[in-house]
Assembly symmetry: D2
Homo-oligomer: 353 residues x 4
């Protein structure tokens, strides 16, 4: 309950200014050579301080595996890992002990639990996603090597990458700070974020993700549909506001005649408005989806707010914050997708005799 995955399962812990983050992956198959460098590479893509358009908090984000791996291979037993917090500046948060920051989870945590670790947002910090990257990068190795999961920033504010994902060269995603493989759009997005940052403001955007070479049969018929499992994972990411796959919200404007994907003789389809999924199960075509992220709530400008006693206070973001969540969310999206797919892929192995 409240873990990630149905068969392979991820439990996590950690708060922004606690001692460490970490997690346990259970039921992970034995015999897989762990690509430690690959995992660290994904962590490096997510870590703060990479560029001028993300937070300057300094964290090496080095993962330490504590169990479940022997001489470089998974043993089938639970894989425990931790990522120590190094650069907590809790004093940046002393003024927030009793204040409720607008559009943060301070108020709701207090309401729900009657207590909260206010430092850096505590459990509600997006630093939790560091755990997901470790688990997802591990899980990716379960999948057939030709499955490609590529996420990229498809819009920042009103600036869109107009090219469809099919026309993009994903090898270029990491070649710029915003992680949009369309260099022209990327340049505009970066300028926009820099301008926003200068104002002490933040901005939202969208991420598109395409999964290629996924075999047929992934996903379950009821309450385990592939799109539902993906949506659940994505909507658990901090700041996510929306999810759509295939034709998405545009599909709601169409007629059946327009929307139906007719078959070719080899069971591929002429179009792919379905987004690679029929009845919750992958059909072998590309699975693609888009996730909306709101702007980060911490702005470096004064805002009126209240404290827990209902007194009015003026808050102004201190500390080191991202003006835009998007470039760092790319490995998070890809990792969650890998975990969801690996889980359903393993399950699919035992769904027919």
């Amino acid at each position: 309950m409240f873990t990630l995955g149905n068969f392979i399962s991820l439990s996590t812990f950690g708060e922004s200014h606690g001692a460490a983050y970490g997690g346990i992956v259970t039921n992970f198959p034995a015999g897989l050579s762990v690509d430690f460098e690959g995992i660290q590479h994904q962590l490096d893509r997510r870590k703060p301080g990479q560029s001028a358009i993300v937070t300057q908090r300094k964290e090496s984000d080095t993962v330490k595996f504590l169990s479940g791996i022997f001489e470089g291979k998974t043993t089938g037993t639970p894989i425990g890992f931790i990522i120590e917090n190094e650069n907590q500046k809790s004093k940046d948060y002393g003024h927030l002990e009793h204040a409720y920051r607008p559009s943060h989870a301070d108020f709701t945590y207090d309401q729900k639990f009657g207590i909260r670790d206010h430092r850096g947002g505590g459990k509600s910090s997006a630093r939790e996603t560091v755990n997901w990257v470790v688990a997802g990068a591990l899980a990716k190795q379960i999948l057939p090597a030709d499955i490609a999961i590529n996420a990229y920033v498809s819009s920042v504010g009103e600036i869109f990458c107009e090219k469809p994902y099919q026309d993009l060269d994903f090898s270029k995603t990491d070649s710029n700070e915003i992680r949009c493989p369309d260099e022209e759009a990327a340049a505009k997005m970066i300028s926009k974020i820099k301008a926003i940052k200068k104002q002490g403001n933040t901005i939202g955007g969208t991420v598109t993700c395409a999964i290629k070479n996924l075999p047929t049969g992934i996903g379950e018929p009821v309450f385990g549909k592939l799109q539902a499992e993906l949506a659940k994972a994505m909507m658990n990411i901090n700041a996510a506001k929306g999810f759509e796959y295939g034709s998405g919200f545009c599909g709601a404007k169409m007629t059946g005649q327009e929307h139906n994907d007719l078959f070719n003789d080899d069971f591929t389809t002429k179009t792919n408005l379905s987004g690679g999924i029929q009845g919750g199960i992958s059909n072998g075509m590309d699975v693609y989806f888009r996730v909306a992220f709101k702007p980060i709530a911490t702005i470096l400008r004064p805002q009126e707010s209240v404290d827990k006693n209902g007194n009015r206070v003026t808050l102004e973001g201190k500390g080191r914050h991202d003006p835009c969540v998007l470039p760092r969310v790319i490995p998070v999206v890809e990792s969650l997708v890998a975990f969801v797919l690996a889980d359903l892929f393993l399950i699919n192995q035992i769904r027919k005799l």
Copy 2:
């Protein structure tokens, strides 16, 4: 695994042309007087044959409770129920035994399972949602009586209900065939569907749902965020293509300054772009979201397709089909929301000492 709910849990069974649908709700609290009429009323809202713009399949959709209720009250033991299928016309589907209908799950089920009940789509039929309505209507009774869950059709094709949900009178939702409380928009939507139906075509649309008076504290911090649980439930509905809550995809275009919901002195917020949820937990404001539904794939026009051996076939929808899923999906959305909320509401009772 692959059931609905975390604590109270719904398992379901049934195929379109099998003997019956049904389900079991486990861990349902004891002592609740079951509102049998209310449950049947929700089933009646979902059932086929209600109006000219839905399928003419005749099903009384009468639920029969088999356990867990004694002298009208829940006993805390598993609640079993069935809804018998009455009006199967399986011969309508004989021609589909080996054919793969475009944008249906025929191909994916065959790929996954190597076998399928082809009659009426078998397990992939949206008739499964009859189970969810029963369970959701039951679960709704767990919630405090003042929590109001109202879904309505907010668009059909390009026709939108332009009024925000706050300006609508939900007592009018059921007053027209399409279930849009804005009568002017409703009239246009109904005309549109009738025109589309005449062409043998189908059309998509969106549903908006607003939840009022939800207490604070509902939802869990990680992997159980309220928006993620709602998204998962919605994206499991047949034909759903997208989910957004609060500012949704529009929020991705905004800046932090625009998007932040400032507090009033009583901890309500001046705006509600957050959609009533912070950090995955309800904040006492309205929770609202929107779901996109693609047009139904079965059209009453000839379509080129293939059979399981890769031979080309021409298909033309027979049987009794909906030109638009939307009016019948309203009670499904509301029921799933009720189930998700009741589950998280109960769990929240034991999250602090």
Copy 3:
């Protein structure tokens, strides 16, 4: 939660004098030809009225499958089934509406739920096991055909089957009313039960179960040990008071030197005090265990008791009751074992790459 199985999962419903029992098996693999006769045969072994030493309640105990099976084969989708109650004589229980029968669950259900269906013990009736037999008989088909699961009555009161299981011919288990393959012991057991029955009394006993040809590798290292999964299943059977496997309680009197099972060159072991399990995982030797069952609480003699208001009452069992649970519990034990093994067997398929 509170279902049977980890991957394949059984939810059940039903009360002794309700309309029906039934269940849903989810995640059952597709493509298996259902042995309907075999399933009904197991139900017939469990059903009342088979012989003079069991209850005379008349139930045909016919299972009706409602989904998940198409043209005789499983489709991979949830398998729903019901067994209708036919011979409820609820008036036999009118005098028990407020009384608490000694060593029954009347008092505890009232304490827990504040309400209960008192007729025939309601949910606490062992008639629930009819569901388990259906699910277990189905699940058995997942297992390799050479796996043999044989349970038998190994003691009634002080009368023991002295032969070890290895010396018994299991084809004789069903050849007598008590289901003990040692005919001499069986005769004594039957006499004992008849004498006890004549006194209006009941008697306890033990069941031994041996599993042959189980492959190595079944069971999980932590919190899913094979012996723990078996123990849990057995201890959920009504009237079970104890579980031991391999050397069991006798093993607690031994030294390591005596108890260790030394290896043969082919990895079989010279002795099998371990009971076929090491570290929670099957080692290819026979798995065997013993379950203790207390005497049935309903005796046909007057007993002093109290009602829910604390008034003293005199109760005397009416209705049709078993003098000894054992012969009917044999298929229940075997079915639960089959379900537990099938679940862990499937899981083991995806535990190494």
Copy 4:
């Protein structure tokens, strides 16, 4: 799946000679003041090197909490903890890399996973129980303070503590090395173990546990019976071979007339052969049970065995081993009981409206 608990849930990791053990407890209620000393006290009761009759491995077994606790109180978010391994002497195990020790899990792990960490038994080491003690000591704080959980050694080999648990003074349990509150029996047990140890041999025994002041209503009707949850937890302990509660295996020899627990006017019962549970639910009387433990497999004497290639080898236990598991298993039993009860206790809060 394969975690401990239904609502509050424990995931664990760690191997005998890995870097650390640890775990995550999810869904733990907020607002509880953590008794760090009490937790460490339970760890100290379990740790090696306490006395002459246990292993001399030196481990401080200090738990470090990494999250979920703020200023000494639980926050409702996942509680992560680790216990670092300090005194691994892996070279003691070099000779075991390919050998299969009799009655150990070496062979079964290799069969299941195709790989294993052979050092100190890897994952199959009972050192895993260190995690359970932390989680159980935490969980105990959820329970009403007057619930007393007392386990003690009730037999070593053929030496039994003849007094029933009701006649024992549990404040004396820890006053001797074997943890049997009957001092006379304790002295005999200790002598026996010393003699056995001198021979390089090991010996089994039993643990009895009594739970006093448990409220009524704990446990679930089907597949969550209190005795089944306890049995499952106990049978997951390394070396456990049997479980019985209340009358246990003796109850199988009795008649209903003898076995039934008649009610007093206050709903207590005159006898308690039921062991405090009816229909899977606590009835307010003492819950008591007994667990059988086999002798530890590692003996300090030469034993014939095989290696993974089927070659014969002679093994002789090196390293630091327990001659008897019993004194150190007492806090493990108590901790698991506390966890199981806390979990079912919380769940019971939401089982009736």
